[in-house]
């Protein structure tokens, strides 16, 4: 392709590809440049005019997001001139903005707020009563709420529905100060990726109905993880917080950029899957419907293992981490047990689409295949050890290791969910990715590996 050339930004030389976008270089080299409308997934639009830089030989400042790099360019991104320009443009953005950061859900992760602290810090020259009023809480559908007054008309959301999902629900109507983002009258934002517009929105105009007012963003801790919704393995951030005297709680999932796997986005089903993860958890061991202590449960399990020396089957959930699956396989070998992971239950053709969602709803299915684990239903056995597989199986005796409450007979032991444990997953395209431990519960639930150690004692 095109050759590498040298350009100078703020009297420092950089090697870049000829003809690439200037703003990409500035973002990559972490040179401070404010912008609203540019986004790497959506390309340049050039409507917010915030990313002004000075280019030697040109009369006026130019926007970096629409400037293609040419040999010998000399660029200044700092200085009195350029700060003045940015301050002036920011003032235009703020004319009709309500400046209600204290009650805005985006505060803390809002580009407008950041740039205001950097370049603005002036009182609005227009009184509140003179500002153009728009709708404040419009329910756009798909869990997205719109506040038209906070919108800076960067058109990221409309470009997302035009260029990424091709559903064209959002658009900008009207002109001048009456312009606003909206859907067609009587129609809703309705696509399986709709909530990505909340992440795309640089200001507090689009907020998630699910997350808004749940938590201030600066209280949240962020941990890298992988979505367990399907075999695609989309990279996510888990945002969680442990309020004093309460338990650690996940407040939201956000997409994490990975160009090899999911790009910039995740689907809404994956984004909201944190709810199922936390609800209805199995927290204490259960024997035939009665709560028992962990010690009693382990003793009971050992008793069952001693009783059924032969004809044991171990069933493994294809959502477990690779480390856990390998530990279970080693344990099964010691018991001389058959191992299987029935796959039919993970198939969901209705979930599949041609963006990110896969019809295989098991996050670590590739590992089950790699380790040659039988994917058929188990034969009749005298003892079944079910490691969180979603199906229930019949046998003379059953020991379940479950993350969530389930109506099942026999012995059930609680195990840590994926957010409370760390490990690796291999997605359907063969990428092995790591999940960090996010949640530290007040009363930790043992992991599968801890259970196996206790059973061996």
């Amino acid at each position: 392709m095109s050759e590498m050339i040298d350009i100078i930004v703020d009297s420092q030389s950089y090697k870049v590809q000829n003809g690439s976008l200037l703003i990409d270089l500035l973002i990559k080299e972490k040179i401070k440049v404010p912008y609203f409308c540019y986004h790497e997934s959506l390309g340049a639009d050039g409507n917010c005019r915030m990313c002004m830089v000075e280019i030697e030989g040109q009369k006026r400042p130019q926007i970096a997001c629409d400037t293609f790099i040419k040999p010998g360019m000399i660029i200044r991104s700092k200085g009195e001139n350029i700060e003045k320009v940015r301050t002036d443009i920011l003032e235009l953005e703020l004319i009709n903005h309500p400046v209600d950061c204290p009650i805005c859900d985006q505060a803390g992760e809002c580009s407008l707020q950041e740039f205001y602290m950097e370049y603005g810090l002036h009182d609005s020259k227009i009184s509140i009563s003179e500002k153009v009023k728009h709708s404040k809480h419009l329910d756009l559908g798909s869990n997205v709420m719109l506040d038209q007054e906070r919108c800076v008309l960067c058109a990221r959301c409309t470009r997302f529905t035009d260029k990424i999902t091709y559903t064209h629900e959002l658009g900008i109507i009207g002109r001048g100060d009456e312009a606003k983002v909206t859907t067609m009258p009587g129609r809703k934002l309705d696509n399986p990726y709709a909530m990505n517009v909340v992440d795309l929105c640089p200001v507090g105009a689009l907020t998630s109905k699910d997350f808004r007012f749940a938590q201030r963003v600066w209280f949240l801790q962020t941990v890298d993880s992988i979505c367990h919704g399907c075999a695609k393995g989309c990279n996510i951030y888990i945002d969680h917080n442990k309020i004093k005297y309460q338990d650690d709680v996940i407040y939201r999932f956000r997409p994490r950029r990975n160009d090899n796997v999911n790009g910039f986005f995740i689907c809404d089903a994956g984004r909201l899957s944190y709810k199922q993860l936390q609800e209805n958890r199995l927290e204490s061991a259960i024997l035939n419907g009665e709560k028992i202590t962990q010690m009693q449960a382990i003793a009971k399990a050992k008793e069952l293992l001693a009783k059924h020396k032969e004809n044991i089957t171990v069933v493994i959930d294809a959502n477990l981490y690779t480390e856990e699956i390998e530990a279970i396989l080693a344990f099964a070998k010691e018991l001389n047990a058959k191992v299987c992971s029935p796959k039919e239950v993970y198939r969901d053709e209705s979930f599949k689409d041609d963006m990110l969602r896969s019809s295989n709803r098991a996050a670590n299915y590739k590992t089950i295949e790699r380790l040659n684990i039988d994917t058929k239903e188990p034969d009749s056995s005298s003892l079944i050890l079910n490691f969180n597989h979603p199906q229930d199986f019949e046998a003379t005796s059953v020991i379940n290791f479950l993350t969530h409450n389930r109506l099942s007979l026999g012995l059930s032991l609680p195990i840590a969910a994926y957010s409370e444990n760390e490990g690796t997953l291999t997605n359907e395209d063969g990428f092995t990715q790591k999940c960090e431990k996010a949640i530290f519960k007040n009363v930790p639930i043992p992991t599968i590996i801890e259970h196996l150690i206790r059973l061996r004692r």
């Binding site: 409309t158 035009d162 064209h168 629900e169 959002l170 658009g171 900008i172 109507i173 009207g174 002109r175 859907t183 067609m184 009258p185 009587g186």
Partner: protein
């Protein structure tokens, strides 16, 4: 879909299609045709146009709301468009607007430049320009139209 273009309009659209390399260029002519046919532009009409010119309905809706001359709601009252731009303002359109605002029998709209600055102030009723207006003249025109 309840809106259908009339036969003549469909022929006109076919004729216009040959003129432009991209059918998106037909959005404005189609919006005009829909407005003349029904008196206003309904959402059904926007959907019909969307199918003809292969452009998302939302985008056409955005175009229709951008221009002040398109009406998106039917009106039983007489629609009076008064120019609110510079030349007319300097020549006294404010007085005329103030006068017309008291009149309940008409639907008054402030529109962008009507392009007849030499004869300001100007108003438009049913595609006819009324120029060099005074309050007396406006009253006479409205009386005649009733």
């Amino acid at each position: 879909m309840s809106f259908m273009f009339s036969k003549e309009n469909l022929l006109k659209i076919e004729e216009l299609k040959k003129r432009y390399p991209n059918p998106h260029a037909l959005s404005l002519p189609c919006l005009w045709m829909a407005q003349y046919q029904e008196g206003f532009i309904s959402l059904d009409a926007i959907d019909a146009i969307s199918q003809i010119i292969h452009m998302p309905s939302m985008e056409i809706y955005g175009v229709a709301t951008f221009y002040t001359m398109f009406r998106l709601e039917p009106s039983e009252k007489l629609i009076v468009d008064v120019c609110k731009t510079l030349s007319c303002k300097l020549c006294g359109s404010d007085e005329i607007l103030e006068h017309l605002e008291k009149n309940d029998t008409i639907k008054l709209r402030h529109v962008e430049c009507l392009g007849s600055c030499s004869t300001a102030p100007v108003m438009q009723i049913n595609d006819v320009y009324y120029e060099n207006l005074t309050i007396a003249k406006v009253d006479a025109i409205l009386k005649e139209l009733k």
